[in-house]
Amino acid sequence: MKLSGQHLFDVDRDRLWQALLDPEVLAKTLPGTQKLERIGENEYRGSLLVKVGPVQGAFDGGVKLFDLDPPHGYRMEIEGRGAPGFLKGIGRLELEARGAQTNLRYEIDAQVGGRVAAVGQRLIESSAKVITRQGLEGLERQLAVSTGASPAAPSAPPDNRITTPAVDLARAAAPVAAAPPSQTRLAGEVVQGVFDDLVPTRSRWPLVLAALFAVVAVVAILLRTCGAS
């Protein structure tokens, strides 16, 4: 499974670089992260509660950063195991300064195995995309909190690639509490992701109408049946 994308942050590159090395920031950023701690030079261990379709469970794992080139980027090796299976990946992050903003580009090549791969096959990619997107949005909020600003509520992405709109600091209001997104929100967004992947945008309205019609029809039938008896 390969994931790649980019995200534009409204902070300068040094600030983003520091955040990306801070386990406390990261722990609050990634959905389902239960703990993350530094265990050595550029090495972190922690546990992550993951839910992919009907499979859920805790992964224990680690992240190792290497080829560090501050503040331009690093590569990382991710590894996690648990009852639902395992994941193993190699990733690359690149930071590019764009004036006061910083563009983060990422590429991840991951292997997933065990029950999470067996049962959740259809949902892995959508789940990974959502986890990544929520992670980036979480990071954005973290940065906004620490700089005393709040990002706009994340709007729906323009397409199913993971590109969230840049944060409009000018619209920032009061700081919000930063917490990792909940499992429920993750599940909801996975469903949304799968729907986005399956149904092209232009053909959604007829589907929604058809669904509505079906619901009305079922209700009508139920009412008539109950009324008759």
Binding site: F86, V112, G113, G114, A117, A118, Q121, R122
Partner: protein
């Protein structure tokens, strides 16, 4: 009395089964029964550095957790043996719980036993296994390449066997300068068998007697008991009883001896409590032996007139991570021997490399080797007809073995006992309306739009496994006879103990028909006992379309012996000579004087009262037969599939399916049709939808029914069936077997039909399953190539 043999009598099994009263293994609950959950490898290949069961043992309701170390400590052999040997076969050990290495996703690593199945499953997740992941070999051809990860050190290059059949020199000579040379690379897709009832085992050890009773989803309880006792659990057969209650389908998957029943038995023996294990659907998909998975290069040489000169095939057969019970026999004796099809082929050579990979073991699945052989032969015939510009039916006709050539010795060891191929082909062509469809096809080809294709499959199979002498001479070290013990009760009822163990085929009905026909007793007076080593003498089970031809023949022989004994008793009662007694309509009488007779019931009763029998007449009325067939049986037929493809989206739609089969004499036409229907659904499923897929790291990505597409009723059509009847000349019933015919003939009929529809694009071959995407891509590639030219 109304005729019972050859009549569509409704299955006596069905009222209980269709109203939910059938008792399957998982329905059975015993006092103090505990539940096992098996911890399975998430990796295709890894070293086990350590296993920590501490957390699992501390979980609520957990009674025990065991690993390979516990099996060794208990002194059990702990191995899962292979049941069929080949010359020079590599037989690396298959421990029932992985010792230091896991070799496929789903390999058993540990087991947790708890008070209920939910606690067991939750606790199984708490077993911490420290794996050191290694690279995986997945594709059978790729696994033989230099540098591929090795599955077993005992099998260098991952090769378990290098087997050949036929005359290589003669075949190479046929290919030296043929007028026409047809070559094709074929992949026979991997299947997951998908019995509706998942595998289940309920082991109950009685320490006071040292006896184990194992209730099991099995197609062959005696074979399971034998293999368990030989290699797994260290108990003698005299102390083990295996019972098959209702079994909800198998398609081959419940023939094999799996680690799971040995593990469950071990748990029960350790805890001195009944222990049940039932597979989840995902567990089933990752551990039931899979089917097919061949990568072949197939060639056909023909002369200018379209007569076949030779056939050559080289196959990589995926065996998976371990040798399953019959794993080595499927891509060899059940495959290479069928490569002559219905044709007189003067030279054939077949080489098969059996390859270990880090995937689920591969073994018999409905058809077992014969669908793969039929696929090779009939794909080649189709391509040859296209290449030579000869009509599909005509090329087959030109090469059929003529009816006067039987018995026919093929170049690949088998001697076909009987056959008459043209009438089945003619009937199929007539039923489908061949000429009219060809005219419609020509019209559509000129007008564009949706195209139709016709696919022929003139198949043969070798059924009635297996004549012990024949398979012995081929190098197998076991024969497959069948047993029948027919006991007439003093009140005239008949109890039949058969070694054929059904799992949905309707044996109780058809076997009763055989007995009722022979003895002239009403069918409801016949009781069929099966599936219990505690009741039935040794038996070989149900698979390989063998139950009617071998098990039924054993019953018929025993019934004949009963009649002989009955005649002697009647002769005594009637004060006549036994040679003068005849049995008609359930009554023994003296030839020529039908009024002087004695009823079946009187004979049965007197057999047991026996107070005034002469000295040379033993009491009792019982007969045992161990029937070993003289040869395989050779069902054949021609199937024709008609498909429509939409070139815009690549969608294949099955329009019609005509099947004309010759399964010899028919005991129950309705059951025969039902078997054909089921086989067709599976074979069409293989051609169009079913596919077990591993990624390059050995993860099974089609592990659930979300990702593995089984055919549904709406995907299929109303099948058009007919039969020709060429009785088997060497068994007492003239029957041949029907369980697999549909699955053997149909995949290639459908593929040939799709290729026929695609021939205007110059597309010769696309591998199964023929998904819309694959067909669409093939069309686009062909159009791009044409545009570039």
């Amino acid at each position: 009395m109304a005729k019972v043999l050859g009549t569509s009598i409704k299955r006596r099994e069905d009222p209980a089964l269709v109203t939910g009263r059938g008792k399957y293994t998982d329905d059975i609950k015993l006092e103090r029964m505990a539940h096992a959950a098996i911890v399975r490898s998430p990796y295709a290949h890894a070293k086990i550095r350590g296993i920590d069961t501490t957390a699992a043992l501390a979980a609520p309701g957990v009674l025990a957790a065991y690993t390979a170390a516990d099996v060794a400590k208990a002194g059990l052999p702990g191995m899962i043996p292979v049941g069929w040997l080949l010359p020079d076969l590599k037989t690396p050990a298959h421990p029932m719980l992985a010792i230091d290495t896991v070799r496929h996703v789903g390999d058993a690593v540990a087991v947790v036993v708890a008070e209920n199945r939910y606690l067991a499953r939750d606790a199984a997740d708490l077993v911490a296994v420290d794996y050191d992941p290694l690279g995986a070999a997945v594709d059978p051809k790729g696994a033989t390449a230099a540098g591929a990860p090795q599955v077993h050190p005992e099998a260098p290059g991952n090769i378990a066997f290098d087997w050949e059949l036929g005359d290589r020199a003669k075949t190479d000579a046929a290919f030296a300068k043929p007028a026409h040379h047809v070559v094709v690379d074929l992949r026979n897709n991997r299947l997951i068998p998908h019995a509706i009832e998942p595998r289940s085992a309920l082991a109950s050890f009685d320490s006071s007697k040292g006896e184990l009773t194992l209730t099991l989803t099995t197609q062959n309880p005696h074979v399971h008991r034998l293999l368990m006792c030989l290699a797994s659990i260290g108990l003698p057969e005299t102390k083990v009883r295996v019972i098959a209650p209702e079994v909800g389908g198998g398609f081959g998957s419940k023939i094999h001896h799996y680690a799971d029943e040995a593990i469950t038995s071990f748990c029960s023996m350790q805890l001195d409590r009944p222990v049940k294990w039932t597979a989840t659907r995902t567990e089933t998909n990752a551990t039931d032996a899979h089917g097919r998975d061949h990568v072949s290069k197939a060639e056909l040489a023909l002369d200018a007139a379209g007569r076949i000169l030779g056939l050559r095939v080289h196959t990589y057969a995926n065996l998976g991570a371990y040798l399953s019970t019959f794993g080595p026999s499927v891509p060899t004796y059940l495959y290479g021997t069928l490569l002559s099809g219905q044709y007189a082929i003067p030279a054939i050579h077949c080489q098969v490399l059996g390859v270990f990979t880090h995937t689920t073991p591969v073994d018999a699945v409905r058809g077992a080797g014969r669908p793969e052989a039929t696929y090779v032969v009939e794909r080649l015939l189709h391509l040859a007809a296209d290449q030579l510009g000869i009509d599909q039916a005509e090329l087959r006709r030109r090469n059929f073995i003529p009816p006067d050539a039987f018995p026919f010795q093929t170049e690949v060891a088998l001697q076909y006992d009987s056959g008459n191929y043209e009438p089945a082909l003619d009937r199929a062509l007539e039923m489908v309306g061949y000429q009219a469809l060809r005219a419609d096809q020509a019209k559509r080809r000129s007008s564009g739009g949706k195209q139709i294709g016709l696919g022929l499959s003139s198949y043969i199979e070798a059924c009635g496994l297996a004549p012990s002498k024949v398979v012995g001479s081929l190098g197998a070290q076991a024969g497959l006879w069948e047993s029948a013990d027919v006991r007439v009760q003093p009140t005239g009822g008949v109890t039949v103990y058969t070694g054929s163990s059904p799992h949905g085929q309707g044996h109780e009905t058809t076997f009763s028909q055989i007995v009722a026909d022979k003895l002239g007793v009403p069918m409801d007076q016949v009781q069929i006992i099966h599936g219990d080593t505690g009741q039935v003498q040794f038996g070989m089970g149900t698979y390989g379309s063998r139950s009617a031809a071998v098990g039924g023949s054993a019953i018929a022989r025993s019934a004949d012996k009963i009649i002989e004994k009955g005649k002697r008793i009647a002769a005594h009662l009637l004060e006549a000579a036994a040679e003068d007694i005849e049995l008609a309509d359930g009554k023994f009488s003296v030839k020529g004087s039908p009024d002087k007779g004695v009823g079946w019931g009187d004979v049965a009763l007197q057999a047991y009262l026996a107070h005034n029998f002469p000295e040379d007449l033993e009491p009792g009325l019982q007969a045992v037969t161990f029937y070993d067939p003289a040869n395989f049986t050779y069902p054949f037929g021609t199937h024709i599939a008609v498909v429509e493809i939409d070139p815009e989206i690549g969608q294949v739609k099955l329009l019609r399916y005509v099947a004309v089969d010759d399964v010899g004499n028919v005991i129950n036409p309705m059951i025969v049709d039902g078997q054909i229907h089921g086989g067709l659904a599976q074979g069409i499923g293989q051609a169009l939808w079913e596919n077990a897929v591993y990624d390059e790291t050995g993860q099974l990505v089609t592990a659930s029914l979300m990702d593995y597409a089984l055919p549904r009723a709406h995907n299929l059509v109303a099948f058009e069936l007919d039969r020709t009847v060429t009785p088997c000349p060497h068994n007492p019933l003239g029957v041949k077997g029907v369980g697999e015919a549909g699955a053997i003939a149909s995949p290639v009929a459908v593929v040939n039909a799709v290729m026929d529809a695609l021939s205007p694009w110059g597309i010769r071959h696309v591998d199964m399953p023929l998904s819309a995407e694959k067909v669409w891509r093939a069309i686009r590639e062909a159009e791009a190539k044409r545009a570039a030219a």
